[in-house]
Symmetry: C2
Subunit: 225 residues, 2 copies
Amino acid sequence: MLSEICIPLGMSQKDVVILDELIKERIRIPKGSSLFRLGDPTTSLYGLRSGTMKTQIQDAAGQVQITGFLLPGEVIGMDGLLENIHVSNAIALEDSEVCVIPLEDLDSLSQHLPILQFQFRRLMSKEITRSHQMVMSLGTLRSEQRLAAFLINISQRLSLLGYSSTEFILRMSREEIGNYLGLTLETISRLFSRFARDGLLHIQQREVNLIDMPALRALAGTDCG
Amino acid sequence: MLSEICIPLGMSQKDVVILDELIKERIRIPKGSSLFRLGDPTTSLYGLRSGTMKTQIQDAAGQVQITGFLLPGEVIGMDGLLENIHVSNAIALEDSEVCVIPLEDLDSLSQHLPILQFQFRRLMSKEITRSHQMVMSLGTLRSEQRLAAFLINISQRLSLLGYSSTEFILRMSREEIGNYLGLTLETISRLFSRFARDGLLHIQQREVNLIDMPALRALAGTDCG
DNA sequence: CGCCTCTTTGATAAAAGTCAATCAGGGTGG
DNA sequence: CCACCCTGATTGACTTTTATCAAAGAGGCG
């Protein structure tokens, strides 16, 4: 049953049962603490079961870049498969829970369950595409377009999880949004104020209410980072 | 022998021989033409054998973002494995040649050659990491830092191929560099002029001569996007 | 209540973009 | 062979966008 969240794509019931064997363990990650850190050996991947997390990379100078905000059902840790060393930090934005997918088991099972291999190939390809979209957002969009695209993206992903697509709570600070979008926290704050003034949304601290989705879409350019 | 270029990492001689069976075909791509286009079915991956290519995505409005410049030995097309439809265009910047790696063969061979599976997992993970670095570059670096990091990155990759790390020819225009780095062609041009004035490099059209690598590294912040 | 973090807002400055004109090379055709 | 044209590159003047610095306001929690 967990595996349906972790790996929710077209598998037969039988396959899903087999797959359940993969998930031996769950881990709770309290708000603010790390699931793994840069340099840790990569022994598992993780499917986010509940909560919200962020992944961030950092350079030698300590400069940080958030590379993703993760929602339930999404898989964390695939950037550590090059040398089996994590190259990012995964930090919980609220109390969260992940299911552990040991690489060892994944490998041995993949031998006899080709669809599992396909599935992970697809997930990795999806992450590549997502990251490329992010590059496009940072490379071509202006601040207001980036924030609009960000909100639409969050909205769509929450919607897929069965939550409201128009009312939700941002689990990340203005600073984290700014870092993610290549902007400063002040710019994010000003944009929220302007969007609210222009009737695109209501925002009260981290509670967002998207009012004019068509206008937001138009701003973002219909595509959704 | 081709496979050593296409998939150059730790395999036994025997494995390499088996792997050679994968490479049935080579394709020549003349300068300016496409290896594949957005929307094409993904039936193969491609290892670049010679030349230089770029991959770019585009949104509904036709806005383009270059997501990578490819040098010999690098693998193209992994972003198409989500739905087996290419989500990018791959275009030759000079006359190039790729070896074709049919997915069908890759899949059947992977069953009996686990190392091949690992290898592709690693390559995909590498692309994820590379793209995340790109996000960091766009999100946190200023224009001069981005260009310095770009030049160092090209330099390192050429060096690994046995070419000079200080003298090389840029196969892409100022506009393409600008698009890739989220800047305008004028900014790139000005930066090259400034770098030359400051004695960091010589540049004559597309011929670059890196003179002060330490200074370039310092500018880029030692990390190399 | 008071402290602490996060957020908002304003004033100013810096970075990069835009518009425009000129320049350089490379290739083509007279 | 040379002039011309076309694309790509450079440079300048000016504008826009976003960052920076600074101060004040709003919640939340001990």
